[in-house]
Subunit: 198 residues, 2 copies
Amino acid sequence: MPNRLNDGALLRLVRGRRSVRRFKSDPVSREAITHILEAGRHAPSGANRQPWRYVVVDDPATKKAIRTACERVEARFHWRAPVDLASWMKARGITPQKPFLEDAPYLIVVFYRMREPYAVPSIWSSIAFMLLQVEEEGLGALTYTPTGARLNAILSVPAQFQLAAILPIGIPVDHQRQDRRPLSETAFLNQFGNPFAE
Amino acid sequence: MPNRLNDGALLRLVRGRRSVRRFKSDPVSREAITHILEAGRHAPSGANRQPWRYVVVDDPATKKAIRTACERVEARFHWRAPVDLASWMKARGITPQKPFLEDAPYLIVVFYRMREPYAVPSIWSSIAFMLLQVEEEGLGALTYTPTGARLNAILSVPAQFQLAAILPIGIPVDHQRQDRRPLSETAFLNQFGNPFAE
């Protein structure tokens, strides 16, 4: 079993992972970013079409342009957010200001080709793989989805590719622990409501 | 770094993972299934709403009912599939018959609550985490998405939950190796088309 991890290692990685919204300005190795991209491009995809394209951004002027474009749509998003989401964001101090887009040493901007089978499931599988690799590298990331932001022009991305998310990546200043609903409320055996006994 | 895996272990897992469409009838431990569900429920989700619900199926009559419901929609799906996808499926011997839905010792049927923020990205992050845990357990799985199949009644799942995928899980008979486009064609630095030098 050459692919087998040490007992429980992946679960510890999964359980320990948290979203990070504040980053140190310390540099991050290019090798770590390569590993993260490697994890992303090996995700499963519909008909193996690999609809993902990643633009890695470390140029300060480009990061600033991305931040400006995102903050422009954020005010509108916050204003329109459903009540539940708005109160969740408020409790976490999530505002239309997105300093992490400049503070993180790297942004991985994730695009997908829209007209591919299962493009959305595929791109989110790729993002999930990258998030675990971020953790494996001892780094932190946020899955930031600036609804409605148009970054294609800033990054010279052809129009058939759609923005899925921006992953700012760096060394965490802090992270926010989120509880999870217990397994007994999420997993059932044979019929919904019938507990899956561990 | 208590969460840190051995050097490169996650990448080996990611690179080694393959879709499996044929399973041995050998049993799989309940503990392995629990680990897989644990990985799934710790995925990130929009506003931490955890829209996932998993129905684990090991009952033969329920598996048979699921297979019947899926094969009913498969004929129509194959008939309507775009040319690219149809030829991809044909080359792999993928037909409307889905014996793996009965052969695999376990099915994890994945549902999500539709009216949650970022429900689709969240559910596919959860599925991606589970696929890696399947590999970690030395097992195989397929991400099977029976377009249009209605399994809520069979599994007593409330109507506000939507089917995302079925993961048949078991010991692989074989798997299909899929090449990946190289990093140089998928990752760029600062501008699309500008190679991300490793």
